[in-house]
Subunit: 359 residues, 2 copies
């Protein structure tokens, strides 16, 4: 029996995708091989790779002057890989600090350059996105880095920064493919796959062509965007099976109506939870209303001594991974694309029931 | 119908492993989740991770003063990651050049340090392993790097170098787990999983404790061995599904009798092919007899105009990926642990039949 899995990542995948993966495990389309066993340079896998790339390009409407790379190491590797690839002759970069993932990016970037924190939401416990009017960007920054959805704090940009000629770099790991995005406003978008795209081990990098000439000499070949772009992401053996499953997720998204349809579904799912949170005093979400994440919904019970009972009851009803991140405590419901609306309804019903019993 | 897949990697996996993975795809052991969907910090995945680690330690008899890390990026990433982690205050390293993979390691290392090529087999087209008596190592090298099985050239070390106090670092990607290895003679062993361990996207690093204090400040956290060792390889989200499948491969190996048994099987499989190659003039393997790889067997048809016909006939008989690497041409049969002896027999039978028809 399948459960409702609210994990922040790796996270729930569409059941249809898993069924296809299971049925093709021993023999992909009469090839006599599992996708795991295919040479990455064989025609079978190349067809899988190209289809996944084309579908991702279509879903996100990625302009032709952007390269899409399928790399490894997740966002934490990219935190180092971004400055390595973008600093060129410059020695500093601007970062906006909206929470735990921004902090990780900043810490790592400091290994390679001076970091100017252009704005920070630390003054209010990372419960909002600083308005761009308050940003103190520097003139000589190699780029401006943002995390457009903070998985832990549950804070999301619902607007696109305008950084002029300075390339805007975004870690979109935990909300990529959940909503429309105007890729042309970004220099680089990167995301680990394990939240909204597929299995851990795949990292997607979307980079504008003119930014491919700035890599530092210390950039490892496996993470050198230009070299990888020239090798169709096959300079090293890519995470072939993760790419295959991500490709199945892309097909699933397209069959459901693409980004416009999934965005409507995500708005509805998030509203179910936030509307209830706004009606009760028993639970609370600390995030400024206009900056709330549609993907990650942290909330706390007013009486934290009930946390364990809440989690136990949830598990008995087939809902797992609702415990909040240790940094913020409380609960967190991650409701990615693949979480069915029934999962969110079951959760809200349970929250109400729990409130009635303990409120 | 399954075929015989002689790919050099990603490569054939045990059919039993694929059957288990397929059957557990939607619901791992009544958890209600696919392994792909599990939080890497949940108790289910942690149990999978720990079992895989313990089984790998048992299979390779890894001494307790070594850490085993499950990272990402493959051997090509490690080519940069090794000097980053091992140089410390030193500025040079020794490399032995036995072929294409050694060359890649050397090229990458030069980004971080001076490389002394202590020995090279280039003088005879990389068809042998230079005897240690001929190595010109340097006194101040941070380490000595070898590639103990050259996947493309089909050259394997059947002895262990002795580098005294200088740490010996080995890329074992294409023969790890195929034979017994005295881990204590190495400072670091690394290997991409996609040849003898599991799906692409997982990289195993085995590192002696006393070498964990030498990382350069530019080492990305995701590839910083000490930080990863302290985080149980979870500083970034690991390639969870690849670890799971590798764990199934480790269980399969143990059930078959472990390394001693698989080594006997590998010796027998390789002998089938090499014995025939030594009896015919129609095909030839260029590698010095005592340095021939048990895993990757390159061979050429005397008459290269027959190559296409050979590959076509092989495919008709259910054998694929026999075309040699473009750098050396001809054919290559990769006969990893998971290649059944029937696959090698079918190949040798076909080679004989083809010789009779065209010889």
């Amino acid at each position: 029996m399948r459960i409702f899995n609210f994990s922040a990542g790796p996270a729930v995948l569409p059941e249809d995708v898993l069924r296809t993966a299971a049925s093709e495990m021993l023999d992909w389309r009469a090839s006599g091989m599992s996708v795991m066993e295919m040479s990455h340079r064989g025609k079978e896998f190349i067809s899988i790779h190209e289809k996944a790339l084309a579908d991702l390009r279509e879903l996100l409407a990625i302009p032709p002057n952007y390269k899409v790379l399928f790399l490894q190491g997740g966002a934490i590797a990219e935190n180092a890989v971004v400055p390595m690839n973008l600093l060129g002759a410059r020695t500093s970069a601007d970062y906006v600090n909206t929470g735990e993932w921004s902090k990780k990016s900043i810490k790592e970037a400091k290994k390679y350059c001076a970091v100017n924190v252009a704005a920070s939401a630390e003054d209010r416990s990372f419960t909002y996105v600083p308005a761009q009017a308050t940003w103190k960007t520097s003139r000589d920054a190699a780029y401006v880095h943002v995390c457009t959805n903070e998985t832990i704090g549950g804070v999301e940009y619902h607007w696109t920064p305008d950084t002029g000629d300075v390339p805007l770099v975004a870690d979109m790991s935990s909300h990529i493919l959940s909503r429309a995005v105007d890729v042309a406003k970004y220099g680089v978008i990167y995301a680990g796959a394990q939240k909204n795209m597929g299995p851990a081990g795949l990292t997607v990098v979307i980079v504008r062509d003119d930014l491919l000439d700035r890599a530092l000499p210390i950039t490892p070949s496996a993470f050198h965007w230009k070299e990888q772009a020239e090798s169709d992401s096959m300079l090293n053996t890519p995470a072939t099976y993760s790419i295959y499953v991500a490709g199945l997720v892309f097909e699933w998204l397209k069959a459901r109506g693409g980004i416009a349809a999934i965005e409507r579904a995500n708005i509805a799912k998030a509203a179910l939870l936030y509307d209830y949170l706004d009606r009760t005093e028993f639970y609370r979400n600390p995030v400024q209303r206009e900056d709330r994440s549609r993907m990650n919904v942290p909330f706390k019970l007013r009486d934290e001594s009930l946390d364990e009972a809440f989690l136990k009851g949830a598990k008995e009803r087939g809902m797992v991974q609702l415990k909040g991140h240790r940094v913020v405590g409380g609960m967190r419901a991650s409701i990615y694309n693949a979480m069915p609306v029934e999962g969110v309804r079951t959760l809200v019903d349970y929250m109400q029931e729990f409130e009635q019993r303990h409120g």
